[in-house]
Amino acid sequence: MSDRTDLLLALADDELILGWRNSEWTGIAPFLEEDVAFSSIAQNEIGHARALYELAAAELGTTADELAFDRRPEEYRSAPLVELRRLEWARTIARHWLYETADEIRLAALKASDDQEIAGLAAKIDREEAYHRMHAEMWIDRLLATDEGHTRLDEAIDELWPYALGVLDEELRPELKARAQERLGRALPDVEAKPRGVHEAELGELWEEMTSVRRSAPPGAQW
């Protein structure tokens, strides 16, 4: 597998798995606006995953669906941050904000890529991600505005920080740290990043659910 395919799959897997996690709030978010917001963000992320899988599929001679659903969980290249299942609001917001901030840094690098297909797609994705970032920033403001919110956010960020670093290649991590420290107004520790490819147990559970319909379909089923 080429480095290019490896990169495309890492990006696509992050977006697919996070999209799935975001969709877990559909119907049960704290209030209706957030139900709509997280459902819509999930839809966008899965749309990005599809386009990225299609680029990889063209190279590998397969299809986006096969890449999304027919690999074994251990073959996914997602970052552990997106695999975690944390149906608690402060952790959801912390993960959302950390991921979107890291993703903005990653997309900026991809937009400057010599590979025109990747640069063009990254630019299009980034236009949509701008709305995810504004949504995440709005929630950081809200949580920082009260003592309880602030405490809960701090705890969530501390827990998720090694995971957030693991979203990015090593050379982009200092920028994430600088931005996060500035926004949160405190120092973040130097810790080992949770590396891509070492999966959280939750990924296996997600995979079982996500692929169950496809796996149960009789051979030759038309979708």
């Binding site: 709509v36 749309g47 297909e117 299009k124």
Partner: protein, 160 residues
């Protein structure tokens, strides 16, 4: 022999599957039409990438081209070549009449939440006393706003 003008004409008859008041040509998502012998190649960009109407639009374009007696070749372009700035003036007016506030121009720099919080015109009463209720709405391309003057919620086409 089919001409490019004929193709543009039939594509302009295809409504957006989720906002049927506006056509695909009004939306500006058809980036190019090329006729080569009996083959019509259409370059097309999705609005939002997770839009479930993508395949419906593609099929509708193919059907129209087949009706003209040509072979369709619809290519999806996945780059930054489409912006809501490409929605035609006519398309914007159709959106407004249907109760959707049209998108504002794409900003030169980074889009900030504060730019979306103020100053948008209510498509029903024309007041600018409106506020952002939710960045997200019933489809990926829309936000929800509320008019403080006529007390009516309305949908805003997102700027991208």
């Amino acid at each position: 022999m089919v001409t490019a003008d004929q193709v543009w004409e039939v594509l302009a008859e295809i409504p957006d599957p989720e906002i049927p008041v506006i056509s695909l040509v009004d939306l500006g998502v058809v980036k190019g039409v090329a006729v080569d012998d009996g083959t019509v190649r259409v370059d097309f960009t999705p609005t939002f990438m997770g839009c479930p109407a993508l395949e419906v639009m593609q099929r509708a374009m193919e059907e129209k081209i087949v009706e003209l007696g040509a072979v369709p070749e619809v290519r999806v372009r996945l780059d930054d070549s489409w912006s809501t700035d490409d929605i035609t003036a006519e398309g914007r007016e159709k959106l407004r009449v249907a109760g959707f506030a049209p998108p504002t121009p794409r900003p030169a720099g980074r889009m900030e939440l504060v730019q979306l919080q103020r100053g948008f015109r209510c498509p029903y009463c024309g007041s600018t006393e409106t506020k952002l209720e939710n960045l997200f709405g019933p489809t990926p391309c829309r936000s929800i706003r509320y008019c403080e003057s006529c007390r009516q919620p309305f949908e805003q086409f997102k700027t991208i």
